[in-house]
Symmetry: C2
Subunit: 185 residues, 2 copies
């Protein structure tokens, strides 16, 4: 069965979007192909994201991964937009995170479920639903924006580093989410 993979590009100081959801720093940082990203894209069978990530994707309407991936997309939101955009091969869902992940798993048909954005990822982490975190670390400090993970009071989630590689601009890192974190949940 596929796994649940949180896939994200992050600044060194832990932001996944700059203020006003700006993402230009991501494109500036890449500098060339990433084998890790290509692997993640090739093994993804369905994607689950939140409303805010959807809004960012909806700005350029290029499709997920700039159009490099197509498949079932689920947008978790209490407030679906009135008009479903034509670039989105997906569905707006309003249900508990466990149900949304189960739905995406089924749609992935044995491939992985890709999680995009901080909010859905945080909900998944809180419920121990994430199996792997794939981070493209960008060589930039942003100072403000959307943070990778925050939970007031803190929550230790132990990871196991399984892969490190370099692209022209990025440092690609893969981590398995520790079983102890899952037991503690």
């Amino acid at each position: 069965m596929g796994t649940v993979v949180w896939h994200v590009t992050m600044s060194l100081d832990g932001f996944i979007a700059a203020p006003d959801d700006a993402m230009d720093w991501v494109f500036e940082s890449w500098g060339g192909p990433s084998e890790t990203a290509n692997e993640v894209i090739a093994t993804t069978g369905a994607i689950l994201m939140g409303r805010r990530t959807y809004e960012v994707e909806d700005r350029d309407r290029a499709g997920i991964y700039g159009g490099a991936w197509t498949g079932p997309i689920f947008v978790l939101t209490h407030e679906p937009p009135d008009d479903e955009p034509d670039w989105l091969t997906g569905t707006f869902v309003d249900e508990p995170i466990e149900a949304a992940v189960a739905r995406a798993r089924e749609a992935a048909r044995g491939k992985n479920v890709g999680i995009l954005g901080a909010s859905v990822a945080r909900q998944c982490l809180e419920q121990s639903l994430v199996d792997e975190i794939v981070v493209h670390l960008a060589p930039v400090l942003l100072g403000d924006g959307i943070r990778l993970f925050e939970l007031p009071g803190g929550r230790r989630i132990r990871l196991e580093r399984t892969h490190v590689s370099r692209t022209a601009g990025l440092t690609d890192l893969r981590f398995r989410v520790g079983d102890d974190s899952k037991e503690a949940a």
Copy 2:
């Protein structure tokens, strides 16, 4: 002449201390020696830190780097403690960050100035006084604590990755602070 090196262990989600300045996750994460850390320690001629980092160091009184380094230490604070602790081979200074860095540079006698802690580092970054950032990335999410870098409204500081290596537990990363950031300052 030596450079100004910000040396830090960071959780994947960008924290350099857990809530209540807890640092146990750092020791849990190391898992073995780090050639990068040894290099940094060997090339450091003086250390500059803030009052909060000093308080953390003062809890175990083992000395900087657990006693693996000795040399001149400057603690930047408006409120020096009444009694100078005997473990501290250093001086409390209350002066602008530029003056404190210049003082540490002179004391380093051609070796590097090591910056410890988030507050002094942020002040140095704002004044373009940091030449290099050395990060030991720990395989853990913390969710809350002291952040590597934050500046409301954001500030882009471009970095150049110069080194990546793995220790048993950590991913060691070195970045040169971009000259364009310095010009923009």
